[in-house]
């Protein structure tokens, strides 16, 4: 495939390359940058008549008289193919008397591939069946040099909701109104040619949240400052809850904190710690409670333990990431009775046989 993604909607958090946030605010652009590279130049040389001769790494569809975009070895621009366009060799109407050299760039076939565009299918995830379905497609026309931006956020905006559907009956539960994962696949189309879609992989599995960030916020529209990372990363500042300031719990009324149960901590045992204090900020004890680790890869609503003694004035709440929840079954060929597969790590949605036939949930 000669179109590829050169930039993803992700950010490195706290300058630690092990902490990569794939979460973006859905009300702002979520952009993949793509690059069209029709043919890679293998070698450049003088064709013997003072013209530039390109050896490509694959057989090309460039014909005599075609205009091609060239960007290799410092030669940049739209040039015309003149003779000898057989196979992988292209000779251009461009004076070149220099020595032969290893090619460093690429050629885009502009005349033959008329009305070229990249068609990107944006895929949502049906949480119930854990399968992808197609939300819609985007058409992006690159410039001659081949770069284009694909902004998925308008399709994803239709997935977020504004209903409070948390029942306040479990310690934590994902709220898919507040965000989820998505994926993309893409193909090249030009007149008389429709390519096949790229394979869906976890490399393009990204996440959105129902938020908007402000100008000059750190990480821009990426939610990097709200994404928890695993227990091996100890850099500060740690992930924030999706909640401003110091909230107030009114006993007798619903209360929960929203946090991003990120892909980075999926598959780990996550504990909620609560440390209570009296009015003089003297500690009254600390407790840890295990969260439901199947609710990953979406913003979660998390309840407090509640039922505090009347002496408790404030409660400090935080999350800790522990060991892998998959670690228990390491003996070869041993399966315990009643054992079912744990969701270890990132849950990868299944790709249906025909995406076009899958219904939106």
């Amino acid at each position: 495939m000669s179109v590829s993604i050169i930039s993803y909607p992700k950010k490195i958090v706290n300058s630690d390359s092990a902490q990569v946030s794939k979460w973006s605010a859905v009300h702002q652009p979520i952009v993949f940058q793509m690059a069209r590279r029709d043919y890679i130049v293998h070698h450049i040389s003088n064709n013997g008549s003072g013209n530039l001769k390109l050896d490509l790494t694959a057989s090309s569809d460039i014909a005599v008289g075609d205009i091609v975009y060239v960007n290799t070895n410092g030669i940049v621009g739209n040039l015309q193919a003149i003779t000898g366009t057989t196979g992988s060799v292209v000779i251009l109407g461009y004076g070149y008397t220099g020595a032969g050299a290893i090619g460093t760039g690429y050629v885009n076939s502009l005349t033959t591939r008329k009305n070229y565009y990249v068609e990107t299918a944006v895929l949502g995830i049906n949480t119930l069946t854990n399968t992808y379905y197609q939300l819609g497609t985007l058409i992006s026309k690159p410039t001659s040099e081949g770069n284009c931006n694909v902004d998925c956020h308008e399709h994803l905006k239709s997935l977020v909701g504004y209903k409070d559907q948390f029942a306040y009956d479990v310690i934590n539960k994902r709220d898919i109104n507040l965000g989820k994962g998505f994926n993309i696949q893409y193909r090249e189309v030009w007149r008389g040619h429709t390519g096949s879609y790229s394979t869906i992989t976890t490399a393009t599995l990204f996440y959105y949240t129902n938020g908007a960030k402000q100008i000059q916020n750190i990480y821009g529209s990426n939610m990097g400052d709200y994404v928890p990372f695993s227990n091996t990363n100890t850099t500060e500042p740690k992930a924030k809850f999706l909640c401003n300031g110091r909230p107030t719990y009114f006993p007798g009324f619903p209360f929960d904190l929203t946090f991003i149960f990120s892909d980075a901590i999926a598959g780990l045992a996550i504990y909620k710690h609560e440390k209570s204090y009296d009015v003089n900020r003297t500690s009254l004890g600390e407790n840890a409670y295990a969260l439901d680790s199947t609710q990953t890869q979406a913003p979660n609503r998390m309840m407090l333990q509640e039922g505090y003694a009347s002496s408790v004035s404030t409660v400090d709440v935080w999350l800790e990431a522990g060991d892998s929840i998959c670690a228990g079954y390491t003996v070869d060929d041993y399966v315990a009775a009643g054992y079912t597969t744990l969701d270890c790590g990132i849950v990868t949605p299944v790709v249906p046989i025909d995406l076009g036939d899958t219904e939106r949930p």
Binding site: F259, D316, L319
Partner: protein, 155 residues
């Protein structure tokens, strides 16, 4: 081994006994449900009524006529004005309600634990708000909520 992976969030507990509690919560701008706020003690109840037009019936015999003008329809929006005396740090949180796309009021304060929460969408009236002076530590706020409109008959 486990390591802290989030900030430490301090939650204040307000266990005051309150009269007439009104529990409001909303989606904040970063995409979380903001833990709510209880407005208590007293609220002002109002109703905003608009007339959507009138018509003049033809009276063939004015001796028995009932009117010269009739109402086509009216538009009634119940309103509730809430007030509170709150810390500045709480205002910083509560102000998010004013520009949230989804503000909910708990309708079953006494029974939500057994029957589940019943929410209604209410709309803080838009406008420019003076919230507090930076020299203050506590301040008075007042917010007007438009409650769901009434469905009414139309002639």
């Amino acid at each position: 081994m486990s390591n802290r992976c989030t900030e430490i969030k301090t939650v204040k507990i307000n266990a005051d006994c309150v009269n007439n509690p009104v529990f409001i919560r909303w989606i904040n701008s970063v995409g979380g449900w903001e833990p709510g706020w209880v407005f208590s003690r007293t609220q002002t109840i109002a109703v905003q009524v608009d007339e959507l037009g009138t018509f003049q019936p033809y009276n063939a015999d004015i001796e028995v006529a009932e009117s010269v003008i009739e109402v086509l329809a009216k538009d009634a929006t119940p309103q509730m004005i809430v007030g509170a005396f709150v810390d500045i740090e709480d205002i910083e949180r509560i102000k998010g309600m004013l520009y949230s796309p989804s503000v909910k009021m708990l309708m079953n304060n006494d029974t939500w634990m057994t029957e589940g929460c019943k929410w209604q969408t209410i709309i803080p009236q838009p406008g420019a708000f003076k919230l507090y002076d930076t020299i203050e530590t506590k301040t008075q706020i007042e917010i007007i909520f438009d409650m769901p409109k009434l469905y009414l008959q139309q002639q």
